[in-house]
Amino acid sequence: MSKPQDNGRVIFTEEMKKTHTILVPNMLPIHFNMIAQIFREYGYKIEVLSTSGRNVVESGLKNVHNDTCYPALLVIGQMIDALESGKYDPDKIALMITQTGGGCRASNYIHLLRKALKKSGYDHVPVISLNFAGMEKNPGFKLSLPLLLRLVYAVLLGDLLMLLSNQCKPYEVIEGATDKLVQDWTKRLSVSLRQKASYKQVKEFYREIISDFGELMLREEEKIKVGVVGEIYVKYSPLGNNNLEQFLLSEGCEVVVPGLLDFLNYCIYNAITDHKLYGTGGLTSLFSRVGYKYMVKKQKDIIAAIEEHGKFRAAGSFDHTKDLVLGYINRGVKMGEGWLLTAEMLELIEQGVNNIVCTQPFGCLPNHIVGKGMMRVIKEHHPEANIVAVDYDPGASRINQENRIKLMLANAKMQQEAKEEAKEAATPESAAVSEEDKVLIHSK
């Protein structure tokens, strides 16, 4: 058994790399499974937790201060629940959790996790901080440059798969075809990325993936598009948002979710802004500039590949997205999802996705400002915006959440019908609609 060191923290040693299995909470199934695969290739034993249900929440409630945000409660609950499940040998387990290092509570998840472990008698279990800010080093866990690159590839490919899947699934003729294609590709990519694929190969994958999805049989119909933005965990994780994606699909919508890459870019970009605003972190800012350029370039490659194929809608380039917030909110708002959340709402609206669910854990501090705080301004500039804010927490009932989303959907339907009617009315001979006719159209 390991001994506590370094301010009481249990270090993940080089030996542990061989003996310990690292448990990782799941946020984005497609991405995380690929990422896990890459870590395995680098010699780590790793497992992505996919447990859900009451035990996870109960365990969270017992182990975390109940006013802490819901993601922390779920992630920590999920980990403790796994340790207590008897499925693993607690002496041969390590846990991994991300740490952003920002001014939001999220930077403290790792410490809350350690506290919870101690309370439950697992204080010998090492916890690895996954961060890019150089916090908490572990000799047994190193992010080398090649490994980092591969992780970036996984994010790029994951985003692409997610984007295409979202655009195909609601329209698929053969039920389950999209999911199957996603699964096949995840498997294939995991293997390929393991074989240390070059970026050239990755680009080749883009084309192949897009063309595979392009061959799926899809129904020709217009569905209501609903964008999902919000606090990163509840935005993506079905465990966090009560299967929001599934619900929206069952209501006959197409779901549009901004990719993970935007969040990474946002984090990098913040380091540049911080230097500009406060004059600190000159070196970090320099590295960030390089990193930022690299990432934006990579994103543009995907966009180009999608546009080349022509069938699907690509996400906006971050370079462009970041400028959408000008006049709404300053890019100095860098805690939590910060200005990116506002930017994503604006990006969606720009792409014609006016219907948006803004998800947040109950009482999320940054979202007071960047989510609910910005809705009024957005609506002022875009009267067509149809946004609903939904809070998630262990006590919030699904029926309450769904009822609010349904209201948003009812409005979306009305907007769509009005649009269709306007289209019908806009036949050549009615190009010059009389004032009277206009009134008629409106009163329909």
């Binding site: 006013d67 930077s107 809350l112 600190t280 300053n330 009812a410």
Partner: protein, 979 residues
């Protein structure tokens, strides 16, 4: 003509309308008591004659309608949308619709961009809330309405959430405030809630249509809306069909649907819809079988107190009164600790009358053969009852309960009391109370929640609670505040849970709330071995059983669980060793009269709402006060109070007339602490600095309309009022910078501000239209990097205000840094003086720790003065944090203000006769992290941890109990140390 049926199944009522073309043939409105399908079918059966033999179209709406629609396959329309349809068709000149339903509140703006909103998940101010409040006053909603007509004054009642409002109303009741005034205040709270929670920055003007049941039936509520929104008669419309708006909209929606039904088919769908539960997760049943239950009963029957017939008793007797928040309890004990008389009842909003009646009864039974030798009172109404009836002594609740618990188990080491309004628990160590935990305002109301819920389903509490005992599939309702539980129950009903399952689920929720939210325990071992549980709520076997199950071992529940406070008080009065009690004599009791009058204290700027109770014989009792001033008693000796010191320093700032214009600074959040800096900086540059007024309830209300997120903390929400205040002062510019970082005090891992403090100006600019008409300056600045700050502020000023030479800016900045440092030093010096004063005068000291902006009297509600009225020296965290080496903590210590908390806690552990109370603003996510850490530091240093959650709530009743208990414990400790 086509026939259409609109069915609106809300959370509490069913509404059905039938239209033939444009003609309304039938309408019906009824409470469904959670029997959704049955009630709907019954109503339809009433309309049988209209429907039979014809084809019709139909649709369903409403929060409980969603489930019904899914199960029956009948088309569903969202209720707000349906309202919109109805209004567009039948009242197209409407500008705004406000609709209050059972548990939802909605607003629709038509003019200037259609917008629809519903209340969030945390919000009261609805029909169910009014019902709850009415039952608190022991009246029907109709009677509440009638009462409100004769009001004299309106009390501020927290409007955000029902639970909050309740904790404001209860003390008012206990203080004897007039029911008429409370009734109207409840309606006002609903109005305020609608404005903040729903309008969120959009102004409600033009023709306003008020819909929904409560707004139709309650005239008092109508008046409050009309007056608050300043609507003319023609612009405030309360249509006769108000309660049916959703149903009407639903029938309009139905016309567009393709499907049609016959009466038989439609009714069959509703009655026979599959009742299969799709619940896969439920809790373990409370009891396996009857046998297990019997065994359980037999075990608990052992914890009893003997009764003695008062008629045949000769000797002394001791009276204990527990005037709780919702119930009044009384016990009369004999010399040998046997119960001669007992009483337990809801105080029906007027405890004085109840105690009077009971005393008369007791005197009658006593005759000449029983002599009252002592009396004591405890509970929320302690002061009122003590004054009204001349009771010998009052004692803090915690002490009363401890006494009573010891009677049953002298070794008791943990007491848990779940009453109507609150959960109290205390650990007992070395014969003294070691730590006290009370529920925070958010999760309170647990006991009365079951009761209100039982009533809403048409049962009395005992019947309802017993239902749960043999439930096979108790539902999991979570462990959050009651508003959430309401919607969880809705969800469970939708999923087909029975009353039995819900009853059992509620019992478990109450217990989980207590264990995990209040006590924050992990396992039974943490609670101790010798547990005594009490309070009226534990009289329900369901709750008791849930508790034992959750703990995993047996506990003692005295048979008089509901009377423990009174029993303890009686035991205490016995220990007074008096020959004759001072309590009011039978003669005086007969002539006893009580009147209550409301007024506003003019003693200081706090403007407390006072209730003056006058009793026969001219005795008076004033309540609602936060200090001794209105009582006209001798001013207590002025002990140092750093809160007051800091506030007075700010009040004393006077800016000279400037040459470069007037610049406004809002006096809230981080601007309070940074004020010396900005004040100096701008006056040095030749600006006149105009400060917003010191916060008050009034100031809050002026800005309330523009708050977009009502779950943000109160200090943040107050900023809207501060901006209004500045604008009303006619400033040219308002300066309020965004600051990701705070000053770096080098005591922590980083020096962030919290996200709300850092970026609130962004939110203000986005939501306060008025800010677009002045120069609102909110640059991103960091004061931690001096050189860089000089440069950025120069660029900013030159660009946005006027050209000022760099040298001048540098000089002003240097002065500002000095002023800030000096201010900090002064606070520390004053702190030292206060500590020395305490030492010299042998006084206790309390570090009242929070954020710098907690010195705001509207935020702390006068807690500092309350503490100092006990003769305690009050110091702030920033006055002592530097006196120790920085504390190592187990969390990421990255916020400047919060680092001070840890260090001041550490300091307290090194000092005798000193404790720390942490102030926490409701909704502060970061304090979820700091509170546990501060607790750890204090407890491992042998100190007690006391946390006070503060919000809009104005009531200091619970705070008083905690402070008194804390003082008792401090005394007890020092006594022990001296022995």
């Amino acid at each position: 003509m086509e026939l259409t049926v609109g069915v609106d199944v809300g959370s509490t009522t069913v509404k059905v309308v039938i239209y033939e073309g444009e003609k309304l043939l039938f309408k019906h409105y009824e409470r469904h008591l959670s029997q959704v399908r049955q009630k709907t079918a019954e109503i339809l059966a009433e309309a049988k004659d209209l429907l039979i033999g014809r084809e019709f179209k139909a649709a369903i709406s409403g929060s409980a309608g969603l489930g019904l629609s899914k199960a029956t396959g009948i088309d569903f329309v969202q209720e707000v949308f349906a309202t919109g349809e109805a209004v567009k068709k039948y009242a197209s000149d409407t500008d705004v619709v406000i609709e209050l339903g059972g548990e939802d509140a909605k607003i629709i703006f038509f003019t200037g961009g259609m917008e629809e909103r519903m209340n969030g998940t945390c919000a009261g101010g609805t029909g169910a809330f009014i019902d709850q409040m009415a039952s608190l006053l022991a009246v029907t909603p109709d009677e509440l309405d009638k009462l409100s007509a004769n009001y004299e004054k309106i009390y501020p009642i927290a409007s955000r959430c029902g639970v909050f409002a309740k904790s404001d109303i209860q003390p008012l009741l206990n203080q004897g405030a007039r029911k008429e005034d409370i009734a109207v205040s409840i309606f006002q709270a609903v109005v305020d809630q609608t404005i903040t929670g729903l309008a969120q920055g959009r102004q409600i003007k033009g023709k306003v249509l008020f819909l929904g049941g409560p707004l139709f039936f309650l005239k008092g509520l109508q008046r409050r809306f009309k007056e608050t929104l300043r609507l003319s008669d023609e612009n405030a419309v309360f249509p006769d069909l108000g309660p049916y708006a959703v149903a009407i909209g639903t029938s309009i929606f139905a016309r567009k649907q393709e499907r049609s039904y016959t009466y038989e088919d439609f009714l069959a769908r509703i009655t026979q819809a599959s009742d299969d539960s799709d619940r896969t997760e439920y809790l373990e049943p409370l009891f396996k079988d009857e046998g297990e239950y019997e065994e359980f009963r037999a075990r608990h029957a052992k914890a009893t107190v003997e009764r003695r017939d008062i008629a045949s008793y000769y000797g002394g007797a001791y009276l204990g009164i527990d005037c709780g928040s919702t119930t009044t309890k009384m016990v009369l004990l004999s010399e040998d600790d046997k119960i001669l008389y007992e009483y337990y009842s809801s105080n029906k909003g007027n405890p004085v009358t109840i105690v009077k009646e009971q005393l008369e009864q007791i005197y009658k039974l006593c005759g000449d053969h029983v002599i009252m030798k002592g009396s004591a009172v405890t509970g929320y109404g302690e002061d009122l009852i003590k004054n009204a009836f001349n009771v010998d002594a009052g004692l803090v609740e915690t002490m009363a309960h401890l006494r009573a618990a010891r009677f049953f188990n002298p070794k008791v080491d943990f007491i848990l009391d779940i009453g109507g309004q609150d959960i109290k628990c205390f650990k007992v160590k070395n014969n003294c109370i070691d730590s006290i935990m009370l529920n925070e305002a958010c999760s309170s109301g647990c006991g009365s929640f079951i009761e209100t819920f039982a009533k809403s389903m048409g049962y009395d509490i005992a019947t309802f609670a017993n239902f749960g005992l043999f439930s096979k599939y108790p539902v999991d309702l979570g462990s959050r505040c009651t508003v959430f539980m309401n919607s969880s129950v809705k969800q469970a009903q939708k999923d087909g849970a029975t009353v039995e399952d819900i009853s059992a689920g509620l019992s478990m929720s109450v217990v989980k709330n207590a264990i995990y939210k209040v006590i924050r325990a992990r396992s039974a071992d943490e609670l101790g071995k010798e547990l005594v549980v009490q309070g009226g709520t534990f009289l329900n076997d369901g709750v008791l059983r849930s508790f034992e199950k959750e703990l995993g071992h047996d506990v003692v529940r005295p048979e008089i669980a509901g009377l423990m406070g009174a029993f303890g008080a009686a035991l205490f009065s016995k220990s007074l060793h008096k020959d004759v009690s001072s309590v009011i004599k039978p003669g005086d009791l007969r002539r006893f009269e009580h009147t209550a009058k409301a007024t506003i204290c003019q003693g200081c700027t706090n403007k407390c709402n006072l209730t003056i109770n006058t009793f026969s014989g001219g005795r008076r009792f004033i309540s609602g006060n936060r200090c001794e001033r209105p009582l006209g008693q001798k001013e207590t000796q002025e002990v140092p109070n750093l809160f007051e010191y800091k506030l007075n320093r700010i009040k004393a700032l006077r800016s000279p007339k400037g040459t470069r214009g007037r610049i406004g600074i809002p006096l809230g959040l981080n601007m309070i602490e940074n004020l010396p800096f900005w004040f100096t900086f701008f006056t040095e540059l030749g600006f006149e600095v105009v400060l917003s007024d010191i916060s008050s309830r009034q100031l809050y209300l002026t800005g309330q309309y523009s708050i977009p997120s009502d779950t943000a903390c109160y200090p943040a929400k107050l900023m809207h009022g501060h901006i209004e205040s500045l604008i009303s002062k006619g400033v040219d510019m308002i300066f309020y910078p965004c600051m990701s970082y705070n000053f770096d005090e080098k005591t922590a891992d980083n020096h962030f501000n919290c996200p709300v403090v850092a970026y609130y100006p962004e939110l203000l600019y986005g939501n306060m239209e008025k800010l677009h008409h002045v120069k609102f300056l909110y640059p991103y600045l960091g004061l931690h990097n001096r050189t860089y700050f000089n440069r950025s502020i120069r660029n900013f000023i030159n660009k946005e205000i006027c050209i000022i030479p760099y040298s001048e800016i540098r000089r002003a900045s240097s002065k500002a840094y000095q002023a800030y440092a000096k201010w900090g030093e002064d606070v520390k010096t004053e702190g030292r003086r206060a500590l020395k004063y305490a030492k010299d005068h042998h006084l206790k000291t309390i570090v009242l720790a929070g954020r710098p902006y907690h010195i705001d009297p509207e935020i702390n509600h006068g807690i500092d003065r309350l503490i100092s009225s006990f003769g305690i020296v009050v110091v702030t965290e920033d006055a002592v944090a530097h006196l120790v080496e920085p504390q190592k903590v187990k969390v990421l210590n990255q916020w400047t203000y919060h680092a001070r908390l840890y260090n001041s806690a550490k300091y307290v552990t090194t000092q005798e006769n000193m404790e720390l109370i942490q102030l926490v603003s409701f909704g502060c996510g970061i304090d979820a992290i700091t509170t546990d850490e501060v607790r750890d530091i204090l407890e491992s240093g042998g100190k007690m941890y006391t946390q006070l959650k503060i919000d809009e709530i104005n009531n200091l009743g619970a705070v008083k109990i905690r402070i008194r208990s804390l003082l008792e414990a401090m005394d007890e400790r020092s006594r022990r140390e001296h022995e």
